[in-house]
Symmetry: C2
């Protein structure tokens, strides 16, 4: 028997494995093994760790977990672009902070206006229209705006390994939710297309909306007032409000996700807690304790102490963005 | 050919029809026809009124629409039962309103304490424990408490025709949601078992909850403060917040549902708006414009003007409760 013939069955087996690998963009390192092990154990009927289908709730942070959040949250770029679009209607903005810095692209000046300045930007750009008009504005921006470094639409800067993970979990009958500090109305217009997550499975920060009859047509109008911040301790609150169950699987990347991970860990039975650690300055970004956006400090400490899964982006992911795939 | 043999195919056909009728507890009157017609038109691929699966959002009020709400909202009975359970720990209650009237079963006295009194009752009975403890209290009450007239557990007083409608819609790939003025945490422990509606598809009124580490265990504690009232104009707001899409199908029974119905009607394409009119004092209750609970006045006017579907309970439903079925 020649070598070629002897090897054939193994080659076939390897091909079958490659084809059936649900997480091909994950290297065969600890995080991938932890995910495969968790899903196998929680979905094996009769097993000790079996989780009934209706309790298979998986929650994901968005910024920095499902897509990039550097050099600033993408929603901030959206807001700054809106300031430019709206500026002709507000001649006073060119001399008035925080709009002056925003229009000049002066990020340091903008940062100096603090949270108050940021809220003023959000109020000026995220209110005064119906929810449906706002969704249209977001969709148009997503089609036309480009990321400053990658020169691609922002919704192409999603993490291929996480797309595979979402698909794998859903194939195993987990229900996947986004639980993000970002604006709920900013995410919902595109999460279904990009992540396969429908609007009703998106939890996020929100502004007040008001029911009105406008020319006899019932609409919801966005008001310039924050209603709920879905970050930090707000994440378990948001999960309880929108989902009403304690998740069994949670993935985040920053200190804003710590309470969500703690809350997930605090339930009975087997749980999965994961963090994305941004370690790849070449293919994406490298940052943690010192970052203005997505700071990862306390949560990294706790993850190491409690042996949660920490993804080292550089070592554990062989592809970052979908467009890298041949 | 004998008569028996000639009739056989027709008898078979009738049996097949009876077996395949998705709404057997609905008489063959206008509301049933309107429902069947709407579902056929919105689910026929290529048809003018076709609605893609992801947009098939159907919303239902709970009190008076899916279950009975007389002689008072069932959640009020729950609260009054809790006052009795908690009274030994609060000796001052027997001399202090609204608790004095609540303990004496004096509904007129309780009503005299107004909204302020009612909120005090809710605060005293719906706060001060974790969300998981509260769910346990609700579940236990649902097993042990009995309705004053029907002497059955409250969750048996659900409307059989509406259970059939929920099942029929889901079989046609509509996603069914509850949108209720009732407390979200009061409903979620039992809606999945009773209606097949999971917690994450329940929208309702809510109190503030707070994230805490209690003996190192992360929990959410219910606080005595109202956060959101999901009633009247609050219903479209709640729909937008939790679901993020305008429904295509909505069913209510009172003026508190009017804005939800208006909001549903205000979208493009074919829509279904329905109201349950309680007209059957013998089998259930008869009330509308004068009722303290579930008043139906303006919404009935608007339904008639706009030709929304109005269910006449007495004429249109041949079974009210599941336990009536042989």
């Amino acid at each position: 028997m020649g070598l070629a013939i002897a090897a054939a069955p193994f080659a076939l087996a390897a091909t079958a494995w490659a084809q059936s690998d649900p997480l091909p963009s994950w290297n065969d390192t600890a995080p991938k093994k932890a995910i495969l092990d968790f899903v196998a154990r929680t979905t094996t009927a009769g097993g000790l760790d079996f989780v009934p289908v209706e309790q298979r709730i998986a929650v994901f942070d968005n910024d920095g977990t499902l897509w990039t959040e550097q050099p600033a949250y993408f929603q901030l770029f959206f807001a700054l672009d809106r300031v430019k679009v709206l500026a002709p209607r507000h001649p006073d903005w060119k001399d008035r902070e925080p709009f002056k810095s925003a229009l000049a692209g002066d990020m340091a000046g903008l940062a100096a206006t603090g949270e108050k300045g940021l809220l003023e930007i959000v109020a000026a750009t995220h209110a005064g229209m119906t929810t449906e008009e706002f969704a249209g504005i977001v969709s148009e921006w997503m089609e036309t705006a480009r990321h400053p470094r990658f020169a691609r639409p922002y919704d192409q800067l999603v993490f291929q390994p996480m797309l595979e993970l979402l698909t794998f979990l859903r194939a195993n009958r987990f229900k996947t939710f986004i639980v993000s500090g970002g604006g709920i109305e900013f995410m919902r217009p595109w999460t279904e297309k990009v992540y396969g997550i429908p609007p009703e499975q998106v939890v996020g920060s929100s502004g007040v909306v008001k029911f009105e009859l406008r020319d006899g047509k019932p609409v919801l109008v966005k008001e310039p007032k924050v209603e709920f911040i879905d970050d930090g301790p707000g994440k378990p609150v948001g999960i309880n409000r929108f989902i009403g169950r304690r998740p069994v699987f949670a993935f985040g990347n920053s200190d804003g996700d710590l309470q969500m991970l703690q809350y997930t860990a605090g339930g009975d039975g087997l749980r999965f807690m994961g963090l994305v650690h941004h370690t790849d300055a070449e293919r994406e970004y490298a940052y943690d304790r010192q970052s203005a956006f997505g700071r990862l400090d306390k949560a990294l400490e706790e993850a190491r102490q409690r042996q949660w899964t920490v993804v080292d982006m550089k070592a554990d992911w062989n592809v970052i963005y979908p467009f890298e795939k041949k």
